[in-house]
């Protein structure tokens, strides 16, 4: 988090500082965003979100219809159809729960239902493990959802509020996942600056449904409306399906501009910004070596960069906040002058050549004028800690690459017993 009061030129509103863990910060953001329907199913480490929200419902602090479904599959389905009925919806999941939603993730984005979901990133079974890695959401990167990975609880809170505006933007109508690291964020208390209820409500606003061409050639609201009946989710074969999927991609291409715009508007209100909303650069301007990562590991990496900079080593960091859509131009501009880059993946693509972030970053940099060396480190699977000395080791490897011009093995594992 950067405090940007001066930069954005406003005196941000008075905010309360609360001690919240990541899950509680998410629940509070959902409460303040005046969500109409929350449908969810418990799974560690997302459970606190649902528990806190249940308390808000039980105490009459929200006017939300809360549906405790019998599975994640039904939870997302209920959000999807409630959203199609025209209201604001939220759910949360992790790991196996997200995997169970897999089918409906595609249906949600295909139906252009702007559902917002928090993911407490957790490893996938087997062996069963409740701790952090990104295997769950990375496995859903092609599902047509916007994916935002946050670094801390403050950003989880801020991003959920922004997510409703992004998802419901009538040029997009794309569902959004806000991903926070299991336990490192979901269960760890932090000081979180909280906006007043009224400020959030005003920022998020009412959901507006766009008009679409109806069955009788008349423009009607894009929702299940008995006054203006439309058919949603029809059978769609080779003569139209492709065009509909192409439209989804078009919405994704419009998303970076809107994500940035909403991020900046929020910065104006809150005094907080996260890079440009898509990527956050840290000491990257003159960096010769850099790491790229997403999630809470960025916090640790920043501390390492500070140490290296104190030793006059030109180290930097790129944190990918928005992974879908991939901010290709921003990544390219941020990294094109770096000489050696280590991409850190908290998930593995079994049998592939490196992890999913590595694929994207290296692919993006293929066209760079001075193509840098790009290597990959798979780290932190199943909640394995990523301490500063491990990250320091990665920067040392990058220095060696610079000195020797020898890359060696491009895909490595960090912090594992071999």
């Amino acid at each position: 988090m950067e405090t940007v009061k001066q930069e954005v030129g406003v005196e941000a509103v008075e905010q309360q500082v609360l001690a919240l863990n990541g899950d509680e910060a998410v629940a509070l953001a959902v409460k303040q965003s005046d969500v109409d329907v929350v449908a969810a199913y418990p799974i560690t480490p997302q459970t606190i979100i649902v528990e806190r929200f249940s308390e808000y419902v039980a105490n009459g602090e929200v006017n939300t219809e809360f549906v405790c479904t019998e599975s994640e599959h039904s939870a997302l389905t209920a959000c999807l159809t409630a959203s199609a009925t025209g209201v604001r919806t939220f759910t949360a999941s992790a790991s196996a729960g997200l995997a169970l939603m897999h089918e409906i993730l595609y249906v949600t984005s295909g139906c252009r239902a702007p559902v917002v979901m928090a993911i407490a990133n957790r490893a996938l079974s087997a062996p069963i493990n409740i701790h952090c890695d990104h295997s769950d959401s990375m496995a859903e990167r092609d599902s047509g959802w916007i994916q935002i990975y946050v670094e801390n609880s403050q950003e989880a809170y801020d991003s959920i509020i922004q997510a409703f505006r992004i998802a419901e933007n009538t040029d997009l109508l794309l569902p959004v996942m806000v991903c926070l690291d299991a336990f490192f964020l979901s269960h760890t208390l932090e000081n979180v600056n909280v906006l007043p209820d009224e400020t959030v409500r005003k920022f998020v606003g009412e959901r507006h449904v766009p008009l679409v061409r109806g069955h009788n050639g008349k423009d009607v609201p894009f929702k299940l409306d008995p006054d203006n009946p439309i058919t949603m989710g029809p059978l769609d074969l080779y003569d139209y399906y492709f065009e509909h999927k192409r439209q989804q991609e078009e919405a994704m291409r419009k998303a970076p501009r809107i994500i940035k715009q909403i991020h900046d508007e929020y910065a104006h209100t809150s005094g907080r910004k996260y890079g440009d909303g898509l990527i956050e650069t840290y000491q990257l301007e003159d960096a010769e070596i850099a790491t790229v990562c997403c999630g809470s590991a960025a916090g640790t990496a920043k501390a390492v960069v500070d140490k290296l900079r104190a030793q006059r080593i030109k180290a930097g960091l790129l944190r990918l906040r928005t992974f879908r859509p991939l901010p290709v131009g921003e990544i390219m501009r941020a990294l094109e002058n770096v000489k050696a880059i280590a991409v850190m993946d908290r998930s593995n693509s079994f049998g592939g050549y490196g992890g999913p972030i590595f694929h994207e970053i290296r692919h993006t940099l293929y066209g760079a004028r001075n193509r840098p060396h790009v290597v990959n480190y798979i780290y932190g699977l199943g909640g394995r800690d990523m301490p500063q000395n491990t990250i320091q080791g990665i920067y040392s490897d990058l220095q060696k690459i610079l000195e020797t011009k020898q890359v060696g093995n491009e895909v490595k594992f960090a912090g594992v017993r071999e």
Binding site: V37, A39, A82, I104, T231, M232, P234, L237
Partner: protein, 317 residues
């Protein structure tokens, strides 16, 4: 109790319209047409993946004059849960003037098998909606595969009548009784052969507060292998043989419906199952050695289930 005349029903606009692509003699299409005649005001319909979803909506066409949504196969009841939750909150916030009914439609595969979890969950949570199971007794949309709703002995493409195994080896799951056991306000069975009964029950399902379940038998000429003109005749014979008795359970209290009271009061009017089975080529192997004994197995099970139902309806003498 809703009263209507045939004239009123004829004059009521079709909400599930002609032009859909169902096969000739399609039972489920008849069931949908009948049920849509029972709506009482603004209504949203959701459909599981299956024959009716496919035949009614090939983009850019639609047979629906109601707001309608399909999302997936196993989640018709979850679709309804989300719609109902949205309507509830909209009413509470003053964004919706009149109440809106919700109908979920699913076939036997989407109900007996893959959709039972979502259905059970929605029933337990008590959402206010009518769930219609249009039962054509197999996965017809994918090419006649057996489901938990397929009857014993029926030949399907995944329970073919072979020389060793004569069709499906298991009896039909008593799905409507399972729904009664959820202690929901209304459960009924209906057959497309008796349209007034179907309409009354569909309306009753919409009128009760909370979940209602309507099990509608809807023969399929392609899957059951009979002439397309015989759909209604078979739907009637299923009731007359007591293979598919008609009843309703209001707050768990079973009552036999008029058409099934006939064999209950006059057992001699109860037709043998063979009359029903012989009209369908899915059962033709049962009429040849060495599997003829299976007709008796079917008769015994039908009798057992019928007698159990009579007890529940306090009509066991």
């Amino acid at each position: 109790m809703w009263k209507f005349t045939a004239k009123e029903i004829v004059e009521k606009p079709e909400l599930f319209t002609s032009g859909h692509r169902a096969c000739a003699g399609c039972g489920p299409a008849i069931a949908l047409r009948q049920i849509m005649k029972a709506t009482r005001g603004p209504t949203i319909v959701t459909n599981a993946t299956g024959c009716m979803e496919v035949v009614s909506t090939i983009y850019p066409y639609t047979a629906w004059k109601l707001p309608w949504i399909h999302t997936a196969f196993e989640n018709a009841a979850a679709n309804a849960s989300g719609i109902e939750a949205a309507l509830k909150v909209m009413r509470r916030k003053g964004k919706l003037k009149e109440p809106v009914d919700v109908i979920a439609l699913a076939g036997d595969g989407g109900t007996f098998d893959i959709g039972i979890q979502a259905l059970s969950g929605a029933a337990e949570r008590g959402h206010d909606f009518l769930y219609v199971l249009y039962d054509n007794e197999a996965y017809m949309n994918t090419g006649i595969q057996r489901s938990g709703g397929t009857p014993y002995g029926a030949s399907t493409t995944t329970s073919p009548a072979g020389t060793v195994i004569p069709g499906k080896s298991q009896f039909k799951k008593p799905i409507a009784d399972i729904m009664v056991a959820h202690d929901i306000p209304y459960v009924a069975t209906a057959s497309i052969a008796y349209w007034q009964d179907m309409l009354k029950k569909a309306r009753m399902g919409l009128e009760v507060e909370g979940p209602a379940f309507l099990h509608a038998l809807a023969p399929c000429p392609r899957g059951w292998r009979y002439d397309t003109s015989k759909t209604i005749e078979l739907a009637r014979l299923a009731v007359e043989t007591c293979i598919f008795p008609l009843w309703e359970a209001i707050d768990g209290e079973y009552t036999l419906s008029p058409q099934s009271r006939i064999p209950a009061l006059k057992p001699e009017r109860k037709k043998p199952v063979a009359e029903y089975l012989k009209m369908q080529r899915r059962f033709q192997h049962l009429f040849r050695p060495p599997f003829e004994h299976m007709i008796n197995d079917i008769q015994r099970t039908v009798d057992k289930r019928w007698n159990r139902l009579l007890k529940k309806c306090n009509m066991d003498g």
